[in-house]
């Protein structure tokens, strides 16, 4: 059977002119739709603008920004633009510190989300005969359900393997003839390591042909290493739960940056300080406006991710904007094994233990291809009860896992051991090379 190289030829191969015309039409609609909630009504009133002020695509700059703090303050349903009974799904960010963010979806939102993911997977050569193993966390984390629905939409045999349990993953890859895997990059390297221990050669013993990697920053070298290890191409995937989840941007076989789907989003790169637009090629903060969302449209959402525009055409035939891989963050968020973590979440947990002092240090390292977090914390006072220390360490680990969904290495150290810096304490040391 021969297939088109495009999942949706019409939308994927539009000219710039067509893209921009469609964007303007959808932006005007989105702006009107946004005014169904009080949050945007108030913002528009404060700024003295009305939907009629949006006459050209450049007028997007007249619109207010939306931040994660806005989502928190309107928690849980203040950003919704449809009645709750029209919503069929809710995702929420991790962590119990402060209000979580809540993202609502209508049935149509879910359909469009699945279409975006299916479009991406089709773009890198996957077809209904392929076997897709999704080794990403399920539940509230969007990487699981997002790829599940997208891969099923494409018509692939989809294995919801979820994260972890490497021995079983490898068994499935071999037994089911898995041809494509989605996982966070650090987990792919972990899988390879376990394959080696088991004497499994991915080139010889598997039918793999495509890897989709995303949800945590990684360098070009890391990608090359993954490709060399597994013997297949690894494509960078970008998504965030505020937009829907995975599907927002994806590399094509050219691997020359991520295509962001401009029929779904308006992409801007701004200076994180002045909020002025950055010229093409220069690094700034990624700002996204949704164009098709029903339940929760967002205007000019500040992602805090730093990147730059690489181009607006591509040999693959798609003229959707190409962005560089993520180059950093404009806040102190860490991304470890696909999970977003703020230092304050860890601090909050540590401070709940009276046995601990105030000084702590978070160190991120890559050991044998695994990304690890070590939390060192000073004890408030000495003790000779080894058992009690073991129990304490275990309890800290358990509570941190509840909060950040990962189990860090916890090291109890005696008072005065950790470096005390003047002024703002250094709490995080990132020894990984994720941003190059």
């Amino acid at each position: 059977m021969t297939y088109s190289p495009y999942f949706n030829p019409e939308l994927e191969t539009m000219t710039r002119q067509q893209i921009e015309a469609l964007q303007l039409e959808r932006l005007q609609k989105t702006v009107r739709h946004c005014l169904k909630n009080e949050f945007y009504q108030k913002k528009f009133k404060e700024m003295g603008i009305t939907p009629d002020d949006i006459k050209t695509l450049a007028d997007v700059r007249k619109l207010p920004f939306t931040t994660k703090a806005d989502l928190r303050e309107t928690y849980p349903f203040g950003m919704s633009c449809v009645p709750l009974r029209d919503c069929v799904r809710l995702h929420s960010s991790s962590g119990t510190t402060g209000n979580p963010t809540v993202i609502l979806h209508t049935q149509k939102d879910l359909d469009e989300w699945a279409n975006q993911v299916a479009r991406n997977l089709w773009m890198v050569g996957l077809r209904p005969d392929d076997v897709f193993q999704n080794s990403s966390g399920y539940g509230m984390f969007t990487g699981g359900l997002g790829f599940q629905y997208g891969a099923e939409r494409l018509g692939m045999l989809t294995v919801p393997a979820a994260a972890g349990n490497s021995l079983r993953q490898i068994k499935f890859i071999r037994d089911f003839g898995t041809t494509a895997i989605h996982a966070v990059p650090s987990y792919v390297t972990r899988l390879y390591e376990v394959m080696q221990e088991q004497g499994v050669d991915p080139r010889r013993d598997t039918k793999l042909k495509v890897l989709a990697i995303g949800a945590e920053p990684h360098s070009e070298e890391q990608r090359q290493r993954i490709q060399d290890m597994m013997g297949v191409k690894a494509y960078n995937s970008f998504g965030m739960s505020e937009m829907c989840g995975p599907g927002v941007g994806f590399e094509c076989p050219e691997q020359n940056g991520l295509h962001f789907w401009e029929d779904y989003y308006i992409v801007e790169i701004v200076d994180p300080e002045t909020l002025e637009p950055m010229p093409d090629g220069e690094i700034g903060e990624l700002v996204l406006t949704t164009l098709c969302r029903q339940a929760m449209p967002l205007l000019r959402y500040r992602t805090r991710d730093l990147t730059r525009v690489l181009g607006r055409s591509c040999p693959c035939g798609r003229n959707h904007i190409r962005l560089d891989r993520m180059r950093g963050r404009s806040d102190d968020m860490m991304v470890l094994r696909g999970v977003n973590i703020f230092p304050i979440q860890i601090e909050k947990i540590l401070m709940q233990f009276p046995q601990l002092g105030n000084n702590y240090l978070i160190t991120l390292t890559t050991d044998d291809n695994n990304d690890n977090m070590t939390v060192e914390v000073e004890l408030a006072e000495g003790t000779d009860d080894y058992k009690a220390l073991q129990e304490l360490e275990k309890e800290i680990r358990r509570r941190l896992k509840d909060e950040i969904l990962l189990t860090p290495i916890v090291r109890l150290v005696s008072r005065g051991t950790l470096p005390v810096s003047e002024g703002k304490a250094v709490r995080v040391v990132d020894k990984r090379k994720v941003y190059q």
Binding site: P100, G139, E152, G155, T158, D175
Partner: protein
């Protein structure tokens, strides 16, 4: 639907499914041929007694895709449950199967009184386990807002239940109790939450547990039954009457048999539950022996449904354990222990319920000759325990706490149950 209409529909579908597996599954073709049965011998639902049984062992022997009837390109999803040894049981679903499953799940939720205005949290594990995605699809179908909470991070979950005004929840009954306890610890009171419906399943539970959950969470708790070999959750469900669970018998035909003689038992008598899938495309099964012990109930229910009902699960006809909703066989643990040379071929599973959460401890015996001068530190022993725990997790899909015992301290077992101490009261 009247009983006669139902029987006629079941008979028609049974003939079709037998014909389908006869032509598409070599395993069934050989079995039927060896019993001298052709699809034409099966015309009414009563002819089902002529058909061969299918067991978990058959699924294992045909791992991974041997019992699959549809071509691979038609399969869009795979789920897996634990097998009795290393190989899990694999079930492939076509798009139509997912549709039927979703509809059956929607029927369950409708019987519980869940509608599109509800906010419904699915707190079964997502992934290969059918609980999460199965319940999830049904909730989306009826148009309620689904919160894919999955398992873990109970404090956050409790907060969402309060803040979002979540009205329904699907989870294991023991998790519901754990949730209630967590809320009480956090100071979240019953009048701050709006839960009204609970869909509880994936593990056996009692009327006492139901009463306690209802009291502490202020909701009405309904039974939800299913198994991945047949479909997943939604095989049967309780209605408002809560007098037995209605079986979606237009898709899953139930029988109860004597587990020793394999003779069918009359309604009302307790025996092993057996299901035949009447409409499944991906992996249909004929007379699958669930090993669950229960009885069937006839007669129209107070709710108006005429479908046959099943009693609570009263036990198992094998040594399978259900721990946190996951099926665990002692033989799985054995296969792992035997694969590591550091351990003697002796082990013990200790299952308990602590703060309403099931715990599994696996005791293993260190072989004397592996305790050497390079092995005499807590660090080395911890490493070995962790290695065993990782392998167990990989095979069992749930975490087990490993306890290393000195040589010769675990009693040599006689008989199969000697490997298990179940301290829970269920």
């Amino acid at each position: 639907m009247s009983r006669d209409e139902m029987s006629a529909l079941q008979g028609k579908r049974l003939h079709k499914i037998v014909e389908y597996v006869y032509h598409n599954v070599p395993f069934y073709r050989h079995k039927l041929q060896s019993m001298d049965i052709t699809p034409d011998d099966i015309q009414t639902i009563d002819d089902i007694v002529k058909l061969p049984f299918t067991t978990k062992k058959d699924l294992r022997d045909n791992y991974p895709f041997g019992l699959q009837a549809a071509p691979q390109s038609e399969i869009i999803r795979i789920h897996a449950s634990s097998g009795t040894t290393g190989n899990p049981t694999i079930v492939g679903y076509t798009r139509k199967d997912i549709g039927v499953w979703t509809e059956c799940m929607a029927r369950c939720l409708t019987a519980y009184g869940v509608g599109r205005n509800d906010i419904f949290s699915v707190s079964y594990g997502y992934g290969l386990f059918t609980g999460g995605l199965g319940a999830h699809n049904g909730v989306e179908m009826i148009g309620a807002a689904v919160v894919p909470a999955s398992t873990g991070n109970t404090e956050k979950h409790a907060r969402l239940i309060r803040d979002l005004g979540i009205t329904g929840i699907a989870c294991t009954p023991s998790y519901a109790l754990y949730l209630a306890e967590t809320m009480e610890k956090m100071g979240i009171t019953k009048d701050q939450i709006h839960l009204r419906v609970g869909a509880f399943g994936a593990e056996p539970w009692t009327e006492n547990m139901r009463a306690e959950i209802q009291k502490r969470l202020g909701l009405k708790g309904y039974n939800l039954y299913g198994l991945s070999e047949i479909m997943g959750p939604s095989v049967s469900y309780e209605c408002q009457e809560q007098h037995g669970s209605h079986i979606n018998e237009d898709h899953f035909y139930p029988e109860v048999i004597n587990p020793v003689t394999l003779e069918p038992l009359p309604k009302g008598q307790t025996g092993e539950l057996v299901f035949t899938t009447l409409t499944k495309e991906g992996m249909p099964v004929l007379r699958y022996r669930t090993r669950d012990l229960c009885s069937l109930m006839d007669g129209q229910c107070g709710c108006g449904r005429t479908s046959v009902r099943m009693s609570r699960i009263e036990g198992r006809s094998d040594d399978m354990l259900i721990i946190r909703g996951i099926n665990v066989f002692p033989s799985q643990v054995e296969s792992v222990v035997l694969s590591m040379k550091e351990f003697a071929p002796r082990y013990m599973l200790i299952v308990d319920r602590v703060n309403n959460l099931d715990t599994l401890q696996v005791q293993v015996e260190l072989r004397q000759e592996y305790f050497t001068s390079t092995f005499d530190t807590p660090a080395a022993i911890d490493e070995l325990e962790k290695r065993l725990a990782a392998r167990l997790k990989s095979v069992l899909s749930i975490g087990a706490k490993v306890q290393l015992k000195a040589p010769g301290t675990i009693e040599r077992s006689q008989g199969k149950s000697a490997h298990v101490i179940d301290k829970r009261k269920i």
